[in-house]
């Protein structure tokens, strides 16, 4: 009986993986089939106004990049603080709950918040507003995954470190975090993937632009918003451009994912 249950479970588990892969394949196939068709050199050399995607790709990378560079350290450090220094106090729990709730905030709400505190005072949409919106969306995810992963580190490890006289800082950074590294990294990559696909918050904070720009202080181009605009237009060429953009976006995120994993594995060995 036990063996039967075991068998069934293993089959189920494998089936689950297959189901997941099935949907992935379907979506990817759709994306590739519709997106690759429109690939050509122009996409990378011309801006949106001329029928290419150069400015929005660069713009997306810039905004997501800046948000990530600021977001990762803040998120990890806050997560470390919660788990290692915060203990189980009321305020720690409250911050955890607040982060969880923020995770379920429709991204458009974050967009309106940033609109109110950045766009209105400055009088126009800007790349920095977009960066802030992405940052606010990213950080709770990083904080909570760091927090949860650190929690799983066996207490023996920490005790061992302290027993040999290491400082808390040393124990935390070199032992605990290192043990949880894979999980923390996953959290970062997931957070990044999530924000890099966001559209709604950017529409009202960084707007969209057909033209080349690297000036974060004014309306800024982004791939997601442009995909959204293009894909819903009654013009076949524009729609095609939208799908190609979507394909490129997914590819970009995947590459970053792979690079992230690779870099962390290398460090390990």
């Amino acid at each position: 009986m036990r063996l039967l249950m075991n068998r069934l479970f293993l089959i189920f588990s494998t089936l689950a993986a297959l189901v997941g892969l099935f949907f992935l394949a379907w979506i990817l196939y759709t994306l590739c089939a519709k997106g690759i068709v429109g690939l050509n050199l122009d996409i990378f050399t011309k801006d949106l106004i001329d029928g290419g995607l150069r400015n929005v790709i660069v713009g997306q990378i810039m905004m997501s990049g800046v948000a990530t560079i600021i977001g990762i350290p803040v998120g990890i450090l806050a997560g470390i603080y919660l788990q290692e220094y915060g203990g189980n106090s009321k305020s720690t729990e409250f911050l955890r709950d607040l982060s969880d709730v923020m995770m379920s905030a429709p991204s458009i709400v974050v967009g309106t918040f940033v609109y109110a505190i950045v766009v209105v005072p400055t009088g126009h949409t800007s790349g920095w507003a977009g960066v802030l919106a992405l940052f606010i969306l990213m950080v709770p995810i990083i904080v909570r995954t760091t927090d949860d992963m650190l929690k799983l580190v066996p207490i023996e490890l920490r005790e061992a470190g302290i027993a040999i006289g290491a400082s808390k800082y040393h124990v935390t950074m070199n032992i605990v975090v290192r043990y949880a590294k894979a999980g923390i990294l996953t959290g970062i990559l997931l957070a990044f993937a999530r924000v890099v696909g966001e559209t709604a918050p950017l529409i009202y904070t960084s707007g969209s632009s057909e033209f080349w720009s690297t000036d974060l202080t004014s309306t800024f181009p982004s791939l997601t918003v442009s995909i959204y605009n293009l894909a819903t237009m009654p013009d076949d060429e524009m729609v095609q451009l939208g799908w190609t953009g979507a394909f490129l976006l997914t590819t970009m995120v995947l590459i970053i994912n792979l690079l992230g994993r690779y870099a962390s594995n290398k460090k390990r060995s």
């Binding site: 009088g123 949409t125 057909e210």
Partner: protein
């Protein structure tokens, strides 16, 4: 006269001087107008190097943002009254005309005619089956199935919905009194679904059998949807096509004295469900002159371009009135 001349020369000099720098203009608003403005801004950029960047966010947003002076001009399908314009320090003029069609998806049926009675009945939820007598009356040679009508409308607040319900209000007393013209409606019919944007509605119609909905001409055409031939104000059944749109546009009472405030649906002749889209520009905006330059370029030189993306370009007389309006407002 001398004073004026000197001023003119001075301005000319200034303009020539500043032409050396590429202008950058921001606009936002109506998604309905987006394809038109995109077409024009590309031509403008190619020819002058000036950047006109328009973001489609919806007419309401367009009005909001231009009032707050976050952008240099706003696009709206719904016009503002003179009083409101004055209060916000804005000027307004029309830029293009479009049409809203009844797109439907009933297998084996094409070339369907819908009378005003049929339309009103379907919209008010009174006619629920395709083979209803009122519909069948005008479609003698067509085999209508005994299936429930699935009505597709917009899920988002929209200027297109406004234009459509404005037409319904003018055309039908009961609609006028019970619902009126709005951007979002509590539709009376029971069997309905909604799509996001004209694009969503068109896709929904395409993939759901026995459906009918209101979609702008460009999206209906792009998705290859059948569009109903509808009864217009003078009782003639007209096809939704550029010729009938133009015939309707002629009657648009676009009057510069009223800042071109007009809801042009349900004109005496031509296709009845037409709507204009407007540009709102701050009277004293720092880039307002540039905006006017752009639109002048667009309307006088590239007007016909937008017909390829499903619009009706403004009639010549209207363009002249608009130019006069600009001069009068001191922006040209």
């Amino acid at each position: 006269m001398n004073m004026k001349k000197a001023l003119a020369l001075g301005l000319l000099g200034l303009t020539i001087g500043t032409a050396a720098y590429a202008a950058k203009i921001e606009g936002t608003g109506s998604s309905f107008a987006y394809p038109a403005y995109k077409t024009w801004s590309k031509a403008y950029y190619d020819e002058t190097g000036n950047q006109v960047n328009y973001t489609p966010t919806g007419s309401g947003s367009g009005i909001k943002e231009v009032k707050a002076r976050h952008v240099d001009f706003g696009g709206s399908d719904k016009p503002l009254k003179s009083g409101a314009l004055k209060k916000a320090g804005l000027i307004m003029f029309p830029t293009a005309i479009g049409a809203v069609t009844f797109a439907y998806n009933v297998e084996g049926v094409s070339g369907m005619k819908l009378s005003e009675a049929a339309i009103a009945g379907i919209m008010l939820g009174k006619i629920t089956y395709w083979d209803d007598a009122v519909i069948a009356k005008d479609n003698a040679g067509i085999n209508l199935p005994h299936e429930e009508i699935l009505f597709v409308h917009r899920s988002d607040k929209s200027g297109t919905t406004f234009a459509f319900t404005y037409y319904l209000s003018k055309m039908n007393q009961e609609w006028r009194e019970s619902i009126g013209a709005k951007k979002v409606v509590a539709w009376p019919s029971k069997n309905r679904i909604a799509g996001k944007g004209n694009f969503g509605v068109a896709t929904a119609i395409k993939s759901n059998a026995f459906s009918i909905g209101y979609v702008d001409y460009a999206d209906a055409k792009k998705n290859g949807l059948d569009m109903a031939i509808i009864e217009n104000r003078e009782g003639v059944f007209v096809k939704p096509e550029p010729a009938t749109f133009e015939a309707a546009a002629v009657y648009a009472d676009l009057d510069p004295k009223k800042d071109f405030y007009a809801n042009i649906a349900y004109p005496p002749k031509g296709y009845p469900v037409v709507t204009a889209t407007f540009a709102l520009v701050p009277q004293e905006g720092k880039n307002s002159k540039e905006v006017i330059k752009f639109f002048e370029y667009a309307l006088t030189k590239k007007n016909k371009l937008i017909e390829a993306v499903g619009y009706v370009s403004l009639p010549e007389e209207v363009i002249k009135k608009v130019q006069g309006y600009w001069i009068e407002k001191g922006l040209k």
